[in-house]
Amino acid sequence: MKIGWKKIAVMAMAALATTTALAACSSGSSSSSSSNGKTTISILQGKVEVNKQLKQIATEYEKTHPNVKITVSSIGGGTEYNPVLKTRISSGNAPTIFSLAGPADAKQFSAQAADLSKTKVAKAALPGTASAVQIGSKTLGIPFNIEGYGFVYNKEVFQKAGIDPTSIKTYDDLVNAVNTLNDKKSELGIKGVFALPGKETWVLSDHLANLYLGQEFNGNAKKMYDSKSMKFTANEEMKQMIDLQNKFSIKPVMQMDYSQQVNQYFSQGKAAMIQQGDWIYPTVEQIDKNFAKNQIGMIPIPVKGQEDKLPVGTSLYWAVNKKKSTKEQKAATDFLAWLYTSEAGKKDVVNKLHFVPAYKGYDNFKMADPLSQVVFDYSQRKATTGWAFPAYTGTSWDPNTFQPNLQRYLAGKQSWDKTVKNSIDGWKTQQNK
């Protein structure tokens, strides 16, 4: 009798363990469909800094559209986001709306991303802003926003040194300004003119290189992505700009990372200017609200033939899952159209998400912060160049060839000629694979 009980207990426990294990595997799918008349759309996106704001906007939308329920999840960074999206697609829990980072993503998720070219919101997008994620006649994504970068400068330091930042148009102007700033270093209370983060390979490989590499592809990522070769004719100018920043940067350059560049040096007035974009605003604001609001501005990096032009582009695009029901897809495109084209949505885009809009109909808007305002002004004036670097951010050439070679040059371990040659050769090998 005793043994019998034991056996039953063991069996029960084993059965319980097995069923829970199996149940854990089978649950989780077949959600996000319509229940009691409501359509649920799920959003998975890669811009983690707007997670909270996006959730607020979703709640606001649900109030005016009682038949729709929106869930938002955000995962930061390209290397963390893609695996999660892939996992959700393979496990049958794919999101209705997801984000794409450029041509490589568009190609990879072309089986999931619906053609949005006929939608209202895609038609409202500024011309060319979605070209990176177009395949043939299909538009697989619409831009989140536009971003821009240049030299973010400290107004007070420039004023004290007697330099008008807006007068810096050419490379020679920049060199003069840098020399003046460097001579008055102690007087201005700065540790260096620049703060060049040698650890952050993307600062050189994405943003700086784009100015010189992008020229031959008209700043068009798609064009570069499809190109079998590159000439890199403007490489000598890029070398000049790296050398200038390296020479007048706070040392040691190879030890500096993004947070030191932005938080520790620039935000505390230790560097006169840094090569960064409008995305640093929230970080600077967290450290010194007053400084962020009143003391910073941005000028374009002077490039021969492209003077006073700001490189603006899009780092993320919204895509809609075409494997979902038509009803759910329509709800998704309706939401995106509401967000970017309705009066209430536009206000949220500018004031809550702090986006510089990539859409028509924002002429009278004022951006939420001074850096975004600079990007917006340049884009309104059409004094912009494009972003070609999303063409390579998802490929193996960037992390395996371009970035290590640039870093080797920066550390003084390799000549510039070799750096350029390795980069060109590597691109050719990859694109002809």
Partner: protein, 279 residues
């Protein structure tokens, strides 16, 4: 075979099912995918051994392999020397030896990721202030940085293993040797050392396989930089999968890695086992 009754299988099945679900089946799928062009979602063609051939032509992978091997050799030796020395120290009778055990073991309670960030601060800020500037900015200092963090983290753990074996040595044997007139060095080399041989088997295995598989301090301390010169095997594989989106090739690399680590660990266990003595 008598005990293979119903209850035997009832106890084993849940574990077996769980293992199959999270280890065996994924491993088999991984082996299969390594022969395709899988991108994490779908595959379109079978590539045969092409992925494996490219693994051995991949200069990044070979550099990471060489860097890892050097790292393993250095850390295995130093960890065991330091671990054993600490164990010998704290098994002596003096006031505060229990406190010291706790102190030496404590770094092991901190996760590798956090430890990496703490040491990054020490190497870049504190070392800078002391006049050793430029740490972690080239391969040599990056390598020694990783070694130091690993020693800091693992020595205490290895020490605990040695302590367990040291305390198991019967005092009669030591006393007998003492009466026979053996010097302290002779006592250590001829009595203690052979008696703790099983501890070597365990510690060598742990340090060896942990060294090969090291990932989190690598990620938080150097992230493979500068110019990929401090990238270890595990990180190279993760980057191939997640930043280059080449899951199939990463899968092939992971299998090569698995075979290397497995073969070396088995050989090591086989040889150190042979040296163990039974009382």
């Amino acid at each position: 075979m008598k005990n293979r009754s119903l209850s035997f299988w009832l106890f084993v099945t849940p574990t077996l099912v769980a293992l199959a679900l999270v280890v065996f089946i994924p491993a088999l799928m991984g082996i299969f995918y390594s022969f395709t062009n899988w991108d994490g979602l779908t595959y379109t063609t079978m590539l045969g051994f092409k992925n494996y051939i490219t693994v051995f032509q991949d200069s990044g992978f070979l550099a990471a392999l060489w860097f890892t091997v050097k790292f393993v050799v250095v850390t295995v030796i130093l960890l065991n020397v330091i671990g054993l020395s600490l164990a010998l120290l704290v098994t002596r009778k003096f006031k505060g030896n229990n406190l010291l055990r706790t102190v030496f073991f404590m770094p092991n309670l901190i996760g590798g990721l956090i430890l990496g960030f703490i040491w990054q601060f020490i190497f870049t800020q504190v070392f800078d202030a002391l006049g050793f500037s430029g740490w972690l900015t080239n391969q040599t200092t990056g390598f020694w940085g990783l070694v130091i963090v690993t020693l800091w983290q693992m020595s205490g753990y290895i020490m605990i293993i040695y302590i367990a074996y040291l305390q198991n040595i019967p005092t009669e044997v030591i006393e007998a040797a003492e009466i026979d007139g053996a010097s302290p060095w002779q006592r250590f080399w001829n009595i203690t050392f052979p008696m703790i041989a099983p501890a070597f088997t365990v510690s060598m295995f742990l340090t060896l396989s942990n060294g090969f598989k090291l990932y989190d301090p690598n990620l938080s301390l150097t992230n493979g930089g500068p110019y990929k010169s401090t990238e270890m095997l595990a990180m190279n594989i993760v980057n191939t999968a997640y930043s280059e989106n080449d899951f199939a090739r990463a899968e092939a690399k992971a299998l090569v890695f698995f075979v290397i680590v497995g073969a070396i660990s088995l050989l090591q266990v086989y040889y150190t086992r042979k040296r163990e003595v039974d009382l």
